[in-house]
């Protein structure tokens, strides 16, 4: 079996494991989402740490920073911890949330910078430019789409409203930073006749994890508050799928040599 096949099978398995949430009864589905999301994020963090050990220099830094991001993002997914923080911080919660977001995204941004140092691509191809352009448009739409809600919150609490808007803006900015990096990586891989698809899956899964909620917001026309109340929903399924895909991408990246080496036994005499 090739790594690419392993990756495809892994993603299909991720899809099936995530889809379980759609058939579970409400309570069980909500439990699954509540526990599954942080567990999968921590598993990703552990795998990213293990991948970091495979490299040195900038590539090691990329995966160490990714480990940091996944760990803190995983913490953010522990609902009782967030509820606890909300109770303790009360009105300061959204400010703290913003600070936490900036803190965890700093890891991701750092990883992007080090990827760019590893992947030396002088300019974006036309396909990549279209992808980046589409991302920027999507980002603008995400921010514009929040103006109504922002206005409503502003009438109640200005600080919360600003935090609400800034959280979105930071999500959009990090997405806008990730997409060209991923595009450059894919360009670089193609120019070198390489096919390390696992890395692309990792990047895509991270982008998806950050932006799925906004895509869902567009698709359903629900507000974020309503979406946050839903448990065991299609959105949870999408998040679980994104996190599991991240695990699959990291796992295949970690096992690429092992999987490929096994093929030799199939064709060589013992």
């Amino acid at each position: 079996m090739t790594s690419s096949k392993f990756l495809v099978l892994g993603i299909i398995a991720a899809l099936l494991i995530a889809a379980v949430i759609l058939v579970l009864p409400d309570g069980a589905a909500s439990n699954y989402a509540e526990h599954g999301q942080p567990i999968f994020m921590f598993m990703s963090a552990a795998l990213a740490l293990s991948v970091a050990g495979m490299y040195r220099g900038d590539m090691r830094r990329v995966f160490l920073l990714l480990t940091g991001f996944l760990f803190f993002y995983g913490l953010f997914n522990i609902s009782w911890l967030v509820d606890q923080a909300f109770e303790v911080l009360d009105e300061q919660f959204f400010k703290a949330l913003l600070a936490y977001q900036i803190f965890s995204y700093a890891f991701l941004l750092g990883a992007c910078i080090f990827i760019l140092r590893v992947v030396s691509v002088p300019s974006l191809s036309s396909g990549s430019r279209i992808a980046v352009g589409a991302t920027v448009l999507f980002g603008v739409a995400i921010v514009v789409n929040s103006f109504d809600e922002y206005g409503k919150i502003l009438d109640i609490n200005a600080e919360i409203a600003v935090s609400y808007l800034l959280i979105r803006i930071f999500d959009v900015l990090i997405m806008a930073a990730l997409v060209p990096v991923l595009a450059m990586y894919v360009q670089n891989a193609r120019s070198q006749y390489q096919e390390s698809a696992s890395f692309a899956v990792i990047g895509a899964a991270i982008i998806a994890s950050l932006t799925l909620v906004y895509a869902y917001e567009f698709a359903t026309n629900d507000s974020l508050w309503d979406i946050a109340e839903e448990e065991g929903s299609t959105l949870d399924f999408l998040f679980l799928f994104g996190y599991l895909s991240l695990i699959v991408g990291l796992l295949v990246h970690r096992l690429h040599q092992v999987i490929s080496y096994r093929r030799l036994d199939g064709v060589l005499r013992s």
Partner: protein, 372 residues
């Protein structure tokens, strides 16, 4: 044939020989050399004496050997990796792997493919000794090297394998590499050792340039053939190499330059023939025809039928690596012709000269006429 077209033909032959070697380590039927009587192995003396004498008469031949080993192995190792299903990104970002992972993974793949290949073709026992990822340097050891073992040289002489290992590693890691031989089994070390690295690395370029640049070698064909016969009779199978190795040497380093190098090969063969006459007189009994036939048979080189014709001779040779598939040289086998010329003259006492060669089915008919 132009130089360019003969070079392409030589590349095609060396590719076929690599494919044949590969069939020996892959599942499924292995291709043999098509030598029903002589088998797939040949005395190491045959390739050794040809290359070392060519180097002693032309110091630039070491560069030809190095370049030939590098080009044919780099091209073919790449195809071998793909053919065995190794993805092109197997060693993705190798230059930023940590040393332990780099060493373990590279050794594992090298052992599974190229060590097996070297072993199956009896060229030697290849081992990766160390990897220095930061400086891009590698050390490999090669025990029982078919290129030098038993030669008794006073310096490093394994240029073909130096090029070959640089090419193999270069193909695996998708980069250009060079190699120089830090220790040579032929000059008394237990094994050959090659240091491989970036062509711009002074630690690689300077010693390699030094080894290729000022080359002198003293060759003792008598000692070599004597030692080889002794080893072959000792039944320990240590003095043989896969015939494909000799064919690869010929295809990649001699055939593409045949128009220029043919005379040198003839002279080299003649020199070997002349020098070993006392030894084979001592070791063999019988008529010149019987002695020659037995010598080549013992060396597992070729089947020979020497037919006296007046004061001259017709020699029908079969299964010689030069005429066996895929080389199929139709008319020009300068090394054999030169060697036979000296042997026939020395053993029979008749002054003869090589007159012509003609393909006769699977055999080659060489005609030696009396010297006027």
């Amino acid at each position: 044939m132009t130089q360019a077209s003969s070079s392409i033909a030589a590349d095609r032959l060396s590719d076929q020989l690599w494919a044949r070697a590969l069939s020996k380590i892959t599942r499924g039927p292995a291709e043999d050399a098509g030598r029903a009587t002589m088998g797939d192995q040949i005395s190491t003396f045959v390739p050794q004496v040809a290359t070392s004498l060519l180097m002693s008469s032309n110091p630039a031949f070491s560069r030809v050997l190095y370049a030939a080993g590098y080009a044919s192995s780099k091209r073919n190792a790449y195809f071998i990796m793909r053919r065995l299903g190794m993805p092109s990104d197997f060693f993705w970002k190798f230059d930023i792997w940590d040393d332990e992972r780099a060493f373990t993974t590279l050794k594992k793949v090298m052992d599974r493919i190229f060590k097996s290949l070297m072993k199956k073709t009896a060229q030697g026992d290849l081992d990766l000794i160390s990897v220095d990822v930061v400086n891009g340097r590698f050390v490999v050891e090669f025990k029982g090297c078919a290129e030098c073992s038993g030669v008794g040289a006073d310096r490093s002489i394994c240029f073909f394998h130096a090029g070959m290992f640089a090419g193999v590693l270069g193909a695996m890691l998708d980069r250009d590499l060079d190699a120089w031989e830090s220790e040579c089994g032929g000059s008394g070390h237990g094994a050959c050792r090659f240091v491989i690295g970036n062509p711009t690395d002074r630690e690689i370029a300077a010693p390699l340039d030094d080894q290729l640049g000022s080359f002198t070698i003293e060759v003792d064909p008598v000692g070599m053939v004597g030692g080889s016969l002794e080893r072959l009779r000792g039944d320990d199978n240590s003095g043989v190499v896969d015939v494909g190795y000799y064919q690869l040497l010929l295809a990649s380093s001699v055939l593409s330059n045949l128009e220029i190098g043919g005379d040198a090969c003839f002279e080299t063969g003649a020199r070997v023939g002349a020098e070993i006459i006392p030894l084979i007189r001592e070791q063999y009994e019988g008529t010149p025809e019987q002695v020659i036939e037995s010598l080549y048979s013992d060396l597992r080189y070729m089947t020979v039928d020497v037919i006296p014709e007046g004061d001259g001779f017709t020699v029908v040779i079969g299964e010689a690596p030069e005429i066996a598939s895929p080389l199929n040289q139709a008319a020009f086998v300068p090394f054999i012709a030169g060697e036979l010329d000296s042997l026939l003259e020395g053993l029979s006492g008749n002054a003869v000269r090589f007159a012509s060669s003609e393909r006769d089915g699977e055999s080659l008919r060489l005609v030696f006429v009396p010297e006027v």
